[in-house]
């Protein structure tokens, strides 16, 4: 939940009086031109940035003060791969598995589900294509089955098959009661996989708008959904 939030980068306001909500079991998309504030909003929710004014809460916790606690529930796929070039894809995944104490699933099976072969897993990251790196990062972001998945341009650098896998992943996440917030320039694609969305325009958030695929199906995609609990743990 973000209320009246202003985020400054230096003296420049990147987000201006932003209100934003996301609820359990839904996919929320963000779209808009470059530099409009989509990444900033995702980084704010992930606890990498703080508000100069207003408030940002995730699962009832302050996005800045409680950022370490929040990160236990959040998977974040950013613009950058967050990988070590001199380690293989598998070593990167195993490292993330150990430091996050992930025990639920075999993380390599998640990577294989994302189209990464064992041969690819044995390559050092600097030898991987941009799309393969993205898949490795995606495997790491999702291995903990986070309650909130933040995806920043998840379709970038992926082939059609990879993009379909991302869409499928988002739908499965939402179907299992988790929340996905996705920023993308592939507007039609994310709208088809989402429940609600916001337009970002020069730091201002316009919306929410109901995704066309949900417009005539449910009452879930409303400004204040009834029955759905908010990502911050409160209901409006």
């Amino acid at each position: 939940m973000v209320r009246d939030a202003v985020v400054m980068l230096g003296h420049y306001p990147v987000l201006i009086s932003v209100d934003f909500d996301a609820f359990e079991g839904e996919v929320v998309y963000l779209y808009g031109p470059n530099g409009s504030g989509k990444t900033t909003l995702l980084r704010l929710i992930a606890g990498y940035l703080s508000v100069a004014k207003g408030e940002a809460k995730v699962f009832g916790l302050d996005a800045k003060a409680d950022r370490r606690a929040i990160r236990q529930y959040v998977g974040y796929l950013g613009h950058h791969a967050h990988l070590y070039d001199d380690l293989t894809a598998e070593e990167n995944i195993r490292f993330a598995q150990r430091v996050t104490r992930t025990t639920e699933d075999d993380p390599l099976s998640i990577a294989k589900d994302l189209g990464l072969s064992q041969k690819t897993m044995n390559l050092k990251v600097h030898k991987l294509s941009a799309g393969q790196r993205k898949r490795v990062s995606m495997a790491i972001a999702t291995m903990r089955r986070p309650q909130l998945l933040l995806l920043d341009e998840p379709h970038a650098a992926l082939d059609e098959q990879g993009k379909d896998l991302v869409d499928d992943l988002m739908r499965r996440y939402a179907a299992s009661g988790r929340t996905v917030i996705v920023a993308s320039h592939e507007v039609e694609r994310v709208k088809a996989a989402s429940d609600r969305g916001y337009l970002c325009d020069r730091g201002i958030l316009i919306g929410p708008e109901i995704a066309p695929s949900r417009a005539n199906t449910t009452t879930k995609a409303t400004v204040q959904p009834s029955g759905a609990s908010q990502v911050d743990g409160h209901s409006d």
């Binding site: 490292f95 430091v99 996050t100």
Partner: protein, 221 residues
Amino acid sequence: MIRDALEIAKKDLLIEARSRVLLNQLLPFVAVVLILFGFAVGTQNSTLVDISPGVFWVIAFLSALLAIQRSFSIEAENQAKDGLLAYGLEPGGIFLGKVASIFFECIVVEVFLGLGVVFIYGMRLNSVALLIVSAGFATLGVASVGTLFGALAAATKVRETLLPLLVLPSTAPVLLAATKAWEDGITSRVGIGDPWLGLLVVFGLIYLAIGMVSFGSVLED
């Protein structure tokens, strides 16, 4: 926290083993500077022996700077540092892991450098215990300060030039104490009761404690 530290150290040392920066760049750098110092000072054996503790520690500190820069450049690639934060690691654990890997790399360099000053400069080893223990605590001090400032500098666009400006003045007391302890170690048999060693122990532990407490804010803000 210890488990996080071990994972970070293991990861950094594995990357070092793969990239071989220490072997291919740092050790040749040490050898070249050692020989250049010899050329600059002259071939008088007594002069070389006299300056060998100071030369050793100046080169050791410059090498440590390179190791620190390398340690944080691997976190800057692909913004891997954000990944560490996203994994929810204990900042103190990240700090300890970084200190441990930098410490290990510095010790390897110092062993190589030590052989250099013994065989090229003819430095005597009267109190080996003092030399080894003081080297350990001096390295702990520079690795702790370097890790703290390395993270701070890594967040700026001028990280390469800012790091020496932050680290060298802060570690000047360590450099002084290490040089004095080594002078005592080669000229007498004072042993580990040397007062300069006491100073190194205090500096090393204080820097380590400050780093563990403040690393979280440096890393996040």
